[in-house]
Assembly symmetry: C2
Homo-oligomer: 232 residues x 2
DNA sequence: TGTTCGTAACGAACATGTTCGTTAGCCTGG
DNA sequence: CCAGGCTAACGAACATGTTCGTTACGAACA
């Protein structure tokens, strides 16, 4: 179930002899998820986890290179909650794809700080792979050419991830308010188009805006051929 | 030139009498850009800046709420380097839009850590607004309906930002290598589509992949009507 | 002029991520 | 069996972001 990180084998604990339970990546992630559920993601610190696992924070770096990598593993665990049922269901492939991506987005919206981290450090575990495989299946069913699907899958997940990550400052609503206030206060002589669009630029809170984005991107991926003679 | 942060006026320094120069947001950003250019973004710490400005790190919090806000201001300063000449040039509006977005992406690629920060804390200064205004002008010229442009502008900038942010772990190439290794090692029985696409999933380093993404999104924004009876 | 209020400046303290060096246990090879 | 090498475990130390409390200055008011 828990795949090894690419190229890196699971470190082998030596705490089997002492009275402490052996450390594992899986155990660390489980502790992180428990703490996160009980106290919130902000409380998932190396020190807090070390305390939970009866060790020192430095020990955790044997198993995870940094907090970003730990966050990626935690997120992969959480992706188990994404509803992939639409993949095998009947119906329009687009709607099912949208449903899967909406479910993914919903999971991420619960943990925007994880999403921000995931922009850089992607999950690499089974749940993530299962999600990728599922989306590829739907794109295939929809007749999306393989080359476009190869790059499109990245865009779709990236869009959802960054959409959720935008709310990472949700702890800090002033950041969003600042942009909103600036957009509202522009001088029409200097920024006529911003002024003309006005509130519409800020509209669409809730699922409407993000599902439109997903739809637009699906349409774009379907309609945009890959360049010929592209370099790799 | 330097607009006030929405709703927040520029704090007024009182260091005019003492032998130290008065602090300003603008001065702090300038110092940050100087340090970043000389020593790299990682060296732009509150302590480093305070030293440069002959003050204490805590003083900087009078002017910026946190490092994210400082990063946003720094990024806005850097956006002065985005080439907006295509906006007023002749030619196909799509190509010119792609050129502007490519230039924006290029700037961000130089500072991926700033891009990651920008996913959450957007710039709110004049350069950012100028960029938004420019892109809106091109979308308008291309006949993109206002409603679609309102939401599309966000997606376009978001895509470029997160694409650049993905390289924030560039300091840590192992993160990317890890995903690549995992994708290469999947069992075809478990993940047949990932296995089938293989290296193509990882291909497209350099501008090909990101410019295709931009093109796909432009096509999608153009082709996807906004929902009717949408909620706000 | 004196007083009051608001706040820029910033040190002290704290929380958190991370590195580096040391120790001890396990495995392998001779 | 013994010696050597590798590395899990983890404390000490350090870097960095941030908060909170104190001080001093300027503006406004009486």
């Amino acid at each position: 179930m828990f795949v090894s990180l690419g190229g890196m084998d699971e470190p082998r604990s030596r705490r089997e002899r002492p009275a402490k339970e052996a450390l594992t990546r899986r155990g660390i992630v489980a502790a992180a998820v428990d703490v996160m559920r009980a106290e919130g993601l902000d409380r998932v610190t190396m020190r807090r986890l070390a305390k939970e696992l009866d060790t020192g924070p430095a020990s955790l770096y044997v198993y995870f290179r940094n907090t970003a990598q730990l966050h990626a593993a935690v997120l992969d665990e959480l992706l188990g909650a994404v509803d992939l049922a639409p993949v095998d269901a009947d119906g329009d492939w687009r709607e099912r794809l949208e449903a899967v991506l909406a479910s993914y987005t919903l999971v991420l919206f619960e943990y925007p700080s994880l999403a921000q981290s995931a922009v850089t450090a992607r999950p690499t575990g089974a749940n993530y792979l299962r999600l990728v495989e599922s989306i590829l299946a739907l794109l295939d069913e929809g007749g999306v050419p393989p080359g476009q699907a190869s790059w499109g899958i990245d865009l779709l997940l990236q869009l959802a991830t960054s959409t959720a990550a935008e709310h990472a400052g949700g702890d800090d609503p002033e950041a969003w308010d600042a942009l909103a206030a600036v957009l509202r206060a522009v001088k029409p002589e200097t920024y006529p188009r911003i002024a003309a669009l006005g509130e519409d630029l800020l509209s669409g809170a809730g699922p409407d805006r993000s599902s439109w984005g997903i739809r637009a991107l699906i349409n774009g991926v379907l309609a945009t051929p890959r360049p010929e003679g592209e370099t790799t």
